[in-house]
């Protein structure tokens, strides 16, 4: 029952993410994403369409909440213990290197989607970043591109679909990956498919490397995200996460 080995790490407090998202309200005027079900008749005033203005179109909520719970348990009993061991045995600079490495691989998707959305600046910056970090940055372990002012872009296939007018579709919680939508799930599959097809690490020639690659991918991804399930302490956490995710994606696409 007791877990004497569980270590705690100083990390952003529970309210931090929420505050972060509520932060700086005065700084930008952005449209509010759709927060009511699309099958609501037009004549109903928005304020009356639902008992809950925080609601998002979520017809699969029962399924989603089950997956959310599954993710929380998987996180507590499998992922976080592994990540904590990783943090204990790996010095900070090495973890940064690993983060940079995967982030650099991710530029392939960012580039492809910048091109697909016909964004010349983003495409050029991303291509330059990839070229520089892959060579001078030693296969992406370092990030000299950011140091000289080439800031990382954020594009993925879900955003590309959104850019061309594909709606978000129902909210969807994916096992392990967490909050998503139908559109973003298809986007995720597309991005992963591209990496699989291009095979930049030539895993096809070194099948033994697949396991460590995916293991490191998972560990690094979890290590980079400060969110902890149920740390808000709120019974409404599912709804709050849903609200923040949908708003955040809408902003990325609108960019």
């Amino acid at each position: 029952m007791n877990n004497p080995n569980a270590r705690m790490y100083a990390r952003p407090p529970c309210a931090f993410l929420l505050l972060l998202c509520l932060w700086l309200a005065g700084c930008a005027s952005t449209p509010v994403p759709q927060t009511v079900s699309p099958d609501t008749p037009d004549e109903v005033p928005v304020a009356e369409t639902t008992a809950n203005p925080l609601a998002i179109y979520d017809p699969w909520e029962g399924f989603n909440r089950r997956v959310y719970r599954f993710n929380a348990l998987a996180d507590r009993y499998v992922l976080m213990p592994v990540v904590q061991t990783y943090r204990t045995i790996t010095p900070g600079f090495a973890r940064t290197g690993v983060q940079n490495f995967f982030s650099n691989l991710g530029e392939i998707n960012t580039f492809a989607n910048s091109v697909l959305q016909a964004k010349p600046t983003s495409s050029a910056v991303t291509l330059s970043r990839f070229a520089l970090n892959t060579t001078v940055g030693l296969a992406g372990l370092f990030d000299p591109a950011s140091a000289i002012g080439l800031e990382q872009r954020n594009e993925d296939f879900g955003q590309t679909l959104g850019h061309y007018g594909v709606g978000a579709g129902p909210y969807l919680v994916l096992p392990f990956f967490g909050p998503s939508t139908l559109r973003d799930s298809i986007g995720l599959a597309g991005d992963q498919g591209l990496i699989f097809a291009l095979d930049p690490l030539q895993l096809d020639d070194h099948p033994w490397a697949r396991l460590p690659y995916w293991a490191m991918y998972a560990i690094n991804t979890r290590d980079s995200v400060s969110f902890r399930y149920y740390q808000t302490g709120s019974p409404f956490e599912y709804t709050l996460v849903r609200l923040v995710y949908m708003n955040y994606r809408a902003l990325l696409i609108e960019e």
Partner: protein, 440 residues
């Protein structure tokens, strides 16, 4: 095969060399960087509350302590409603000295569990000056309401304090039999600080701990007045009330996105909010709304939990049995739209009068006011208080009360907001000094 091996060795060597080249100056830099000990820089109490301590001002605390998240058997017999089972089990945070040492209890503030980052900060500071530390969840947190509260409608000080006192005894019993505890100390922040004062007084008669020192960090003096101030912040600063939250979140994320494009996207550090505050200079009303919303979220959680646990029929209808995966959408509005006044009138007071008792509103309010124990606080040299003049939960008369009552045992800074300066090198040094002195 050989090629692959050699390539790996080679790349490893390049990697290590690069790490050395880049890592050593970094270590040298870290070693010379000292926290700034000048006055706390944020001159607005609400902004300080949200932003906290900027990185340059933060105290250096020991890292990688052996913190344990301990789980206790529930102290009360209660079925966990399926919709609240996420908050199980009853957890607290502990770090224990290897040698015989005094044990310090830390009581978390409103809504906070023992996993709050403030628990980590305070525990590290106390550990550094020789204490073993146990940080306990607030009676207003769901985990406490489920596992430790005899009466799961928080707000009556006397009963909350008794629950805390019982939890502290359970925590003491949870220590290894070999661990030698040489004495006890007590601290807490915010509502937890007010509760610490009441616990200290309760201990005078109950006699389990005999605290050598007790420190109140940004306490509420009159809890009722403080929560009304928080309610007012939200009412006055969030346009559209509850319906305005989505728009507010969207605007906030818009500001966040601008910062994304201005810097390092994924790797937030402690300085992130301060940088944001400095560069974006958000409107004061929005900062006030953030403080009010954070408080309201804690209150909504607590109200929903209290309602479900006591089947009060205020938020969730009596005949509705919420399953573990049922949507809570129909109840969110009701929970969030409860001000503390509503909570008090519709949940707290009815609960205590459910069996025909005649507990009045005034008695409940007076029962959680530090001014009612003025003589006790003034007469005990082992109790101190830290707070700020611009703490938004306090009024000027309450600041004056603390100053008069505690005299030189009060450290009242002009700036810092509500807990904003807690992590600063100055505050931590003062705290460590308070606990390191020999008992008076």
């Amino acid at each position: 095969m050989f090629d692959a091996y050699e390539a790996r060795v080679l790349s490893m060597r390049i990697f290590l060399r690069a790490c050395l080249a880049l890592g050593l100056p970094l270590i040298a830099f870290v070693a010379v960087a000292q926290p700034v000990t000048g006055p706390y820089p944020i001159d607005d109490g609400l902004a300080a509350t949200v932003v906290g301590t900027p990185a340059d001002y933060q105290a250096e605390l020991p890292a990688n302590l052996d913190f344990e998240v301990r789980r206790l058997e529930p102290l009360v017999e209660r079925e966990t409603p399926p919709t609240l089972r996420y908050a199980r089990p009853l957890q607290y945070l502990r770090v224990v000295q290897d040698e015989p040492a005094p044990l310090a209890f830390v009581i978390a503030g409103t809504g906070a569990s023992a996993l709050s980052s403030k628990c980590v900060t305070l525990s590290s500071a106390l550990y550094e000056v020789g204490y073993s530390v146990a940080c306990l969840p607030s009676p207003t947190s769901m985990t406490f309401m489920l596992g430790a509260a005899e009466h799961p409608v928080p707000g009556r000080m006397r009963s909350d304090v008794r629950d805390l006192y019982r939890l502290m005894q359970a925590v003491r019993d949870d220590l290894d039999p070999q661990a030698q505890v040489t004495g006890y100390a007590l601290t807490g922040w915010s509502l937890g600080a007010t509760q610490a004062a009441f616990i200290a007084r309760h201990d005078e008669t109950a006699g389990e701990f005999n605290f050598s020192r007790v420190l109140l960090l940004n306490p509420a003096v009159d809890v009722w007045a403080s929560v009304q101030r928080m309610d007012a912040l939200l009412a006055e600063n969030l346009d559209g009330g509850f319906d305005g939250i989505p728009a507010f979140v969207a605007r906030g994320l818009g500001g966040l996105k601008q910062l994304y494009s201005a810097g390092d996207p994924l790797r937030f550090n402690e300085d992130f909010l301060y940088r944001a505050y400095r560069t974006q200079s958000p409107e004061r009303g929005d900062i006030a709304a953030i403080v009010g919303l954070a408080f309201r979220l804690s209150l909504a959680n607590m109200a929903f939990g209290a309602d479900v646990l006591t089947r009060a029929d205020v938020i969730v209808p009596k005949n509705v049995e919420l399953g573990p995966y049922d949507s809570l959408d129909p109840y969110i509005r009701r929970s969030f739209e409860m001000s503390f006044e509503d909570y008090f009138e519709r949940l707290l007071l009815p609960y205590w009068n459910r069996d025909g008792r005649q507990l009045t509103r005034d008695e409940l309010i007076a029962g959680s006011d530090l001014r009612g124990m003025r003589d006790y606080l003034a007469g005990h040299a082992n109790i101190g208080v830290f707070t700020s003049e611009d703490d938004p939960i306090l009024g000027d008369d309450e600041i004056a009360f603390l100053r008069d009552t505690f005299g030189e045992r009060a450290r009242i800074r002009p700036r810092g907001g509500h807990m904003g300066n807690l992590g600063s090198a100055n505050s931590i040094a003062a705290l460590q000094q308070f606990f390191a002195r020999p008992a008076p």
